[in-house]
């Protein structure tokens, strides 16, 4: 069964058309990088898969079903908010807060719940660091806890929204490697959005590039090319490969990189 199908889908946020007439399919057990400039619709695409944004036209199918909120088979790691930096709750309490979190009642955990939390923490190797207050974890450690949180409910499809923001290159590599190992070990589909394709290169099966309301899905060397990106950006884009890295240039400016570096300079390693 395909993980996600978009059939002539148009997504709008109030009056703005974010994605226009998109048709694409993500296969089962695929690691897909979702790339594109800010505002290109990476988050909106994920929210549409989660059933939080209804398509203005067209049809979306997620694991063969129409998108629905509270679908346990879809895991989601939202973009990190700075509010978490001051939270003095333990990582364990933070991850455990998600277990059956939408149900009414007291936040008590039964044995099965605790096993589920332990399993998720073990999958990302965070059992020990989950004892510390969230405020005393580094950016990379927090991302591991957030990944554990997204695994609660044992999803078949994992949507990771910008997990590399505010991480230095070393921690970026670690998060990508962890997401890749989860994908192959659990045999699930992962959509991983980012500004820059380079940290994702070791993990990628395919890449989805969004821009100007359009989308291009394919292998890295099919999509990240001058003609395809020039069409998406609506401007002349040059793609340069050097020492196994890919540089996407608009004129003499490198596209997307500055956003990352700006965030990385604020990182608390």
């Amino acid at each position: 069964m395909n993980a996600v199908e978009f059939d002539h889908v148009t997504l709008r946020l109030s009056a703005r058309t974010v994605l226009s007439d998109i048709s694409l399919t993500f296969d089962a057990q695929e690691f897909v990088g979702v790339l594109g400039p800010n505002g290109a619709g990476k988050t909106t695409l994920m929210r549409a898969i989660l059933g939080l944004v209804a398509p203005a036209s067209g049809e979306i199918r997620v694991l063969g079903q129409p998108p629905a909120r509270s679908n346990a088979l879809v895991g989601y790691m939202p973009q990190q908010r700075s509010a978490l930096h001051n939270l003095r709750l333990s990582g364990y309490a933070f991850v455990a807060g998600v277990v059956r979190g939408q149900r009414l009642g007291l936040p008590l955990l039964n044995k099965a719940d605790r096993r589920e939390v332990d399993w998720a923490l073990d999958m990302v190797g965070a059992r020990d660091l989950a004892r510390r207050p969230l405020a005393e974890t580094s950016g990379g450690e927090r991302q591991r806890l957030l990944l554990a949180q997204s695994l609660i409910g044992r999803p078949r499809l994992l949507l990771l929204d910008e997990p590399l923001i505010s991480l230095d290159p070393r921690h970026q590599q670690a998060v990508v490697a962890l997401a890749k190992s989860l994908q192959s070990e659990l045999k699930i589909t992962v959509l991983f959005s980012a500004h820059d394709v380079n940290p994702l290169l070791p993990a990628l099966d395919r890449v989805l590039y969004l821009g100007g309301g359009q989308a291009a899905l394919g292998k890295v060397d099919e999509v990240i090319t001058s003609p395809v990106l020039s069409r998406l950006y609506g401007a002349a884009i040059e793609v340069i490969e050097l020492h196994g890295r890919i540089f996407v240039m608009a004129g003499d400016q490198e596209v997307g990189r500055d956003a990352h570096q700006h965030e990385a300079s604020r990182s608390d390693v």
Partner: protein
């Protein structure tokens, strides 16, 4: 040598002291529990503003000849629900909240001005007068307390979820708006309760102080809730006792204890951080 009126047993021989301790006990439990979530959600300023709206409600009630507490409850709950519907973004907008707060106090002052014979009412509302609590009021406080704790218990799991991970909670089917509104309605009730003990201006002292201290000391939710209640209880009991022996205002002692305990909890961390 202590005279007989100075012994703790003598303190409880007065009806007004018994009522004060009963009221403080009920309110401290409510304030500790509700305050824990208020601090966790970063909405303490919104809670502060609600108490000022309560002042307007109470003074309007006095003007209309009904009890201040009923006016306060009506005004805070209405304002809490209104704030909840306007959404999280507004509830965290300091300037907007500050303006509402100032306007509420100003209106309250105007209502008091029209009801000139009630000169002492203003101080009681602003700074509380726990020693004036009568038995019917204790029962009302108990009833409101049971409602707010019951409602909080019912929504605590999804409330925690939407507070910790709003986007994920939304994706899992928990309505951010619904729980935001319900929670602020609960906060409104708790605020009106607190105001009976420490007054509208010092609601922070019971709602925020103990809960913030608890969150500094533990990383566990349940222990945090327990500590918040324990601090609120200890601070209000001790505050009333100190007030009995010194004849200084209760609300002063409670606010002083609340601040002292919070500072005490901060110290070890600051020292550790400066090393």
């Amino acid at each position: 040598m202590l005279t007989s009126t100075r012994l703790p047993a003598a303190m409880f021989s007065y009806d007004f002291m018994q009522n004060a301790f009963a009221a403080a006990t009920i309110v401290a439990i409510v304030a500790g529990l509700v305050g824990y979530f208020l601090v966790l959600r970063g909405q303490t300023f919104a809670g502060h503003a609600l108490s000022h709206v309560g002042f307007t409600g109470a003074t309007a009630a006095v003007l209309l000849g009904i009890t201040p507490l009923s006016g306060m409850v009506a005004a805070t709950v209405a304002a809490g629900i209104g704030m909840g519907f306007l959404g999280e973004r507004l509830a965290q907008r300091d300037v907007a909240i500050g303006m509402v707060l100032a306007l509420a106090l100003g209106l309250g002052l105007l209502f008091l001005h029209f009801y000139t014979s009630y000169a002492t009412q203003a101080t009681a509302l602003l700074f509380g007068n726990v020693l004036a609590v009568d038995i019917p009021t204790v029962w009302i406080l108990l009833g409101l307390g049971v409602i707010s704790i019951g409602a909080l218990a019912l929504i605590s799991r999804p409330l925690l979820f939407v507070s910790l991970q709003p986007e994920l909670a939304e994706a899992k089917g928990a309505s951010l708006r619904l729980y935001g509104v319900l929670f602020l309605a609960i906060v409104a009730l708790a605020t009106a309760e607190c105001a009976q003990i420490v007054g509208v201006l010092l609601v922070f002292t019971l709602m925020v102080g103990p809960a913030a201290t608890a969150q500094k000391l533990t990383t566990s939710i349940w222990l945090g809730l327990l500590l918040a209640v324990a601090f609120a209880l200890a601070e209000s009991w001790l505050g009333i006792t100190l007030s009995y022996y010194t004849d200084w205002p209760c609300s002063f002692w409670i606010s002083a204890l609340s601040a002292a305990v919070y500072l005490g909890a901060m110290m070890p961390q600051k020292i550790k951080a400066s090393r």
